[in-house]
Symmetry: C3
Subunit: 272 residues, 3 copies
């Protein structure tokens, strides 16, 4: 099935030529391709960060081949894979778990292949830049309508490397959570939703909560948007991906708290 769009997520950054070279390679193979950069500043070699961003973004993309490369084991024995999903999206990347939360978001696993056919790779394949030599060419050929089965042998879902994004857990009247990611505005995306907070009796209408984090003990207002508190105050809002997010109105929660991805957080009732 031909596709006109390839989306691209990586930890390559834009300070090097890596992304541009992958695009050149794809356009040589598929000159009419539309390329959409989702994100290239995934934390270096941080598969979990890439998986979180890809999972949250993929639903907003047109029907595409989604190329994703966060590949700390490049050149080793990890497989290169292409996965078809129930919703008709195709994902291409290393078999290290990066793609799997997005596969689940796209209706679930339909089929997969290991990319082994060197007809669809650059030659020679380097040991250090397989985004250019393996993944980008495969994505472009798939967009051109090459059948996944032409790329290599089928893989069962059980043969693919999984990845669990940690869930918050309940202890007494508290939720033990962690930061999934921090954005440019310093908003801290947490690994739970309103409904998970309600499980400990702390729903949307509870008013203030206590948040303990990085040595701070904060009184935080639950709001529906940043402006529900005065500038400089903390607010817990549902973010645009339905995750709860700890923010400072017109401020930078991440910088203030010196918090980042994987920082742990305990949320509970005030004065508990």
């Amino acid at each position: 099935m031909k596709r006109s769009v390839v989306t691209f997520l990586s930890d390559y950054g834009l300070q090097d030529e890596f992304v541009g070279v992958c695009k050149g390679v794809m356009l040589k193979i598929a000159p009419d391709l539309r390329l959409v950069d989702i994100h290239h500043y995934i934390l270096r070699q941080d598969i979990r960060h890439g998986a979180i961003v890809l999972q949250q973004s993929v639903g907003f993309m047109p029907e595409s081949v989604h190329l994703a490369v966060v590949d700390p084991s490049v050149g080793s024995e990890r497989k290169a894979i292409a996965v078809e999903t129930q919703s008709g999206q195709t994902l291409v990347g290393p078999d290290n778990g990066l793609l799997m939360p997005a596969v689940d978001r796209c209706g679930g696993f339909l089929s997969a292949v290991e990319i082994t056919n060197d007809e669809y790779m650059l030659s020679p394949v380097s040991h250090t830049f397989q985004g250019r030599d393996v993944f980008a060419p495969a994505a472009a050929h798939l967009a051109n309508g090459v059948e996944p089965s032409a790329m290599g042998p089928a893989l069962q879902r059980s043969e693919l490397q999984g990845l669990e994004i940690p869930k918050a857990w309940v202890h007494d009247d508290h939720l033990h959570a962690e930061v999934l990611q921090v954005d440019r505005f310093g908003n801290l995306q947490l690994n739970f939703t309103w409904s998970e907070l309600e499980e400990v009796g702390l729903g949307r209408d509870t008013g203030k909560l206590e948040v303990r984090m990085e040595g701070h003990r904060l009184n935080v207002t639950q709001g529906s948007t940043f402006a529900d508190v005065v500038p400089g105050d903390f607010v817990l809002v549902e973010d645009s991906y339905s995750q709860l997010s700890l923010a400072v109105n017109k401020g930078d929660a991440g910088a203030f708290l010196r918090a980042g991805a994987r920082s742990t957080v305990i949320i509970g009732p005030l004065n508990s």
Copy 2:
């Protein structure tokens, strides 16, 4: 009127997926759209910075829908607007002044609407990412030829939030000015032109000037390009947007002076 290009300016940065997701949303609505990134590193929530860049850039863009999002009050009562200009450009963004200097640059205001019709938004509309849910979809639908009047009620110019970019002012034989923005090379763009400098008798041919700034008292050569002074020396040049700019040839004026946007500057004759 159909448009093939949407330009995009924001303070989203490229360290998050925000820009990529907005592009995915637009391409789902208008698959053939050309997307041109003007700038995504507007200082966070700095409406004035976004307005200055948009105003200076818009004239170099093809006939387009210009999507601009710097939106510190996202989720509050500020309106979402689309503005048509006399020169045939369409601007989409929050009603916080961001668009208005560019509207003036595009021949002035022709008409505007408030974007209220949720047929042209994603559903649900989040409280924290209306670039994705409101502005990007509106821009794509407008590019597809949807009439602005279909998006919501008409607004008069007087109903729109204005924004004044401060002008330099004269005191005796001095000009009191400020820095509009600093570029990657450390060049400090100032808020006046040659003709405004001539008003205090300090035209192009005056030779050296005194510039007081951030505790420094500098002897600055007026030049027509950086290379009019030796490497390391200060030079006052007309920049490519006809603003005067304080630069160091092959150096970094901003870093040397520790100056940034809004730094104040006093320019006058030498030894005054």
Copy 3:
């Protein structure tokens, strides 16, 4: 000859509107153009860095006009040039050596012109942003099929500014080398290949080497990929451009050694 792609390399960064404005200018002239960003974080005004990246990248790009702007002498007498190569690529940029290593990579020099015809420039031409006013318009017009000879007078190769990328040199059983560039992962690309290392009797099979650099004396394993050493160890690998590269598996060699472009390196046998 019409071209559908313009690639773009510069030291403009993405923190300013420079790149976006150049793209707008090109799309006004050639609305169907495909634009591929190779790199915009060339070290500021570092012609050599730009030349290295362009040379290494150009072979992965489709047949294109390659626009490259690293231009510390903008506004001075340096020429603006367009160069045709034996392999059918066209390069546009300042005559300061930036383009020449890429010209050699593209089969060598075929012909060149000085861009002087102001029909193919914006008017007026600023003294400080000729990427926008001269180079981008020329690239777009060339992609549109304008003959280079229409742009200005022919130049011989001998009239063009050259640029030598320094080569490693042999002293006894050591190689004196330097760092060409550092990537986001801290991998240090060096200015020699396996075959040059073999000239001092230190081929792929020698096992460990001694690397002296920035005050460190390192025992470095030769490997074919990062994972040939345990995480945290140094490894010398052939990178994806056939240059040797000093890396730390899952680490950051550049940060650890405080090394950067132009850092000097001495490679020899262990315990010498």
